[in-house]
Symmetry: C2
Subunit: 493 residues, 2 copies
């Protein structure tokens, strides 16, 4: 069957080692240059290597060429050119993915979209903005600073917004503001054929040949199949996202941050459930385990309790915040929480949240010279204590060093594993641990990935998660939209 891929992926889980290809003909490279202009095409080894990996541990697999289109029309011509010649197409944003989504496993042309970085239309009254694929989340929020609006989805990296859409990203604010799935209103997608699709309607401006690639769109729709939902999280395997209409939110009048320590994981999760049940509109609720807190203390010269800890943030009016804080404190005390710290001013909040923000680097500092690998399971929140306890036991059983940090309001957590890249035996143990954790999540009705995506590394787990019929359905959709299997091949399926 076309598109059937061997599920084994962890064989790729070895440290980066440059692998040369270079199978494009000179004529084909000239044709690429004819589309985007010579300065916007590169076949230099260093450039290709730079585009052959993301921030994960997947081995670098460089494309044969990198191109930087300037607009969606060029993207369409590039796609049609590659597709016609049977050349794989790999969309590239900021390269900050964590599952090997940009590795050119079959070579091909990497389409780097970062030079398309305009904010095309801001509609404050409609709480929407249209962005090109090179606009990052921080760039957007800087642009919005004086408008009383912001975009809340915040994966750790300053990723491009369209890359976040392709990944189905979320972050610390999703317990209140939702994930990319909830905040993308419309997408312009270049299909492998080069045709341009507008997932939630093209509006009428196109009739007039106007400039706007992606119409603002209404806040909701029941018109036909939800194509936006299909492309959000498709990881570049169905088409190239060349513009996105995003939903914006009003900047909260005031913000309060807090941290507090708990005697057990169960007490921290119980507090989370009770806060949600009490309908306290918490904006962020993050869990850090005691190993993580210890690492943060060392790394950031803090003096926090070395205990399971919650980091919280509340958004609202002054008056609403006072009440949210009071209720939360009652709930947390009732569950045995202690060592509260509350902070209102921006600087103080940053200080308090420093531990959370530096979690990755604090973890890496636990074993200098090591690399980090992050797991990403998500389970129904009631199963969190169980899987967190299992995870800590597994860490011990596999003799691994790992910290735990989680978006506990969503049931999503990451175990950041420290790996000596020179130790292949340890790499194997990390692989086995991560697979076991994925299966534990599935057994608890969870998912192997809450926000990082499937990429290269979790295809076997995806099969186990969605089952044969789910996998067959996804393969059928892929074969329909990408019949030659050239859109970011080897990913997801």
């Amino acid at each position: 069957m076309a598109g059937l891929l061997r599920p084994a992926t962890w064989g790729l889980f070895s440290w980066r080692g440059y692998c040369s290809r270079g199978t494009l003909s000179a004529g084909f490279v000239e044709a690429l240059k004819a589309v985007v202009g010579s300065p916007h095409v590169s076949t230099a080894a260093a450039v290709r290597e730079q585009h052959g990996h993301d921030e994960s541990m997947h081995r670098c697999q460089p494309p044969d060429a990198v191109v930087w289109p300037q607009d969606a029309e060029q993207v369409g011509r590039l796609a049609a050119l590659c597709y016609g010649q049977g050349v794989p197409i790999i969309p590239f944003g900021t390269g900050t993915g964590l599952e090997g989504g940009v590795c050119a496993v079959q070579g091909g042309v990497c389409i780097n979209l970062t030079r398309m970085d305009r904010i095309l239309e801001l509609n404050p009254e409609d709480f929407s903005v249209v962005v090109e694929p090179g606009v990052t989340r921080k760039a957007l929020n800087t642009h919005l600073r004086d408008r009383g609006l912001w975009f809340p989805v915040d994966p750790g990296a300053d990723a491009s917004l369209c890359g976040m859409a392709a990944t189905g990203a979320s972050g610390t604010n999703s317990v209140r503001y939702g994930t990319m799935r909830d905040n993308v209103l419309n997408l312009e997608v270049v299909l492998p054929s080069g045709q341009r699709l507008h997932t939630a309607g093209r509006g009428r401006r196109f009739r007039l040949g106007a400039h706007l690639p992606c119409v603002p769109g209404p806040r909701k729709s029941a018109a036909g199949y939800n194509l936006t939902g299909l492309f959000v999280g498709s990881e570049g395997t169905l088409g190239l996202i060349t513009a996105a209409t995003l939903r914006l939110h009003p900047v909260p009048e005031a913000t309060v941050a807090a941290t507090c320590a708990f005697p057990t994981v169960q007490a921290a999760v119980d507090s989370t459930v009770h806060i949600l049940q009490a309908a306290v509109p918490v904006a962020r609720i993050e869990f850090l385990d005691e190993v993580m807190m210890d690492a943060c203390n060392r790394h950031s010269k803090l003096n926090c309790c070395v205990a399971p800890t919650l980091f919280l943030e509340f958004h609202g009016s002054e008056q609403a915040l006072a009440e949210q804080v009071q209720r939360t404190e009652e709930i947390i005390r009732h569950n045995g929480g202690s060592h509260f710290s509350w902070a209102k001013e921006a600087e103080e909040r940053s200080r308090l949240w420093a531990a959370r923000h530096n979690a990755w680097y604090a973890s890496l500092a636990l074993r200098p010279g090591c690399k980090g690998y992050s797991t990403d399971v998500c389970v129904p929140i009631s199963r969190l204590p169980e899987i967190l306890v299992q995870t800590k036991e597994d860490l011990e059983a596999w003799r691994l060093t790992g910290t735990i940090v989680g978006h506990v309001g969503d049931g999503n957590f990451h175990c950041i594993l420290l790996v000596d890249p020179e130790d292949p035996e340890e790499l194997l143990r990390v692989q086995a641990f991560a697979e076991q954790l994925g299966r534990r999540a599935l057994a608890l009705h969870g998912t192997c990935t809450g926000e990082h995506g499937i990429g290269l590394g979790k295809r076997q787990l995806l099969l186990e998660e969605v089952g044969a019929v789910g996998m067959q359905t996804m393969r059928q959709l892929k074969a329909t939209l990408d019949p030659r299997g050239l859109m970011n091949p080897g990913k997801v399926l």
Copy 2:
């Protein structure tokens, strides 16, 4: 091309007239009985007619037989049987749709899912519930009454929850709680082949042959293509939904309702935008025009201002509500609103909201003997005043009686048109008006349907809305999942 349908749909827009078919062989009917048992199959004319229409004005087109399966396994066998024999399959819930979604335009077998009406699993800590397709929204909320949880999506009718998922329904609460798209976590779908698909993972219980058809699932996921999103809003054209995992919300501690009058439509919409910009977490914000208010006064013996009016509802703690009410009143006064009524107790709130709840019947009472037809456009909120003014002018130009009621926080509104079913010329004018309104919405970057779906009547508008590439993509998806074109044929595409 397979699945290519003529876009003309308004030819069907004539009043109900029973049309007999009856093309199933006796042997096939026996085969249906062998699956579900004789008492659960009917070919009686009255039963078929009852299943040949919904609450819209589309002509009754009865199926050849109606079957009532008892479980998903039977649904699978029925689907495989029909599909193998080339017999169309029409899923049927409560029959409360508004776009002719259940009309058996090619005859076939209507699968009535209302006898599968168990609430299978409630997980209060995870804010989720698993329901069979016959469970209605009111039945679920009655079941949840003492658990401190509720399901907020509320189309007017007491529709089945899986039918609401199939339609992509919403209602008055979606400005705060989202639509079905936002509140479905997982679906069990019987594909035309009879295979069972779990759109967001099947969990592990299936390995053990356990009873639960649809696992609770995590609150978010980035695992593969968003199949849940694809089936929500697919209107029974891709498969039969046999179970759904839904997201629940905590019951608000307190509720306050309000109404107020405005000098103009613009003032009412400006108030709405300002309330949203101020991040007041309004739960409901509904607009009624002066014709609607006049109708309500007459029908419900009220004494409200005959003016553009907002109906509001706020959910939260006592303290939070006081602040929300105060801010809202400030904003509304600033925009020229007046005649405030606030109500806190349940009975008083019902009295205040009586006008909104009885809008449909109050409209019908304007012209006794007439039927109602509801439009359903949705536009970016900033374009609402413009389209509302145009709509009122169009009503006059087309010499039609219509009231306007809208989920103004979403930019979605309905014009309820009164039609004499014996007057074919008036029916044509209603048709022309509705088409014009749909096109006006598209010109303003809106959609022809915010929550009722495409069904039979809006296929031409869907084509105009999503364009040739969008339509081609939807047709490809349909052809992939339903290659013989037998799942609810003639709908959406």
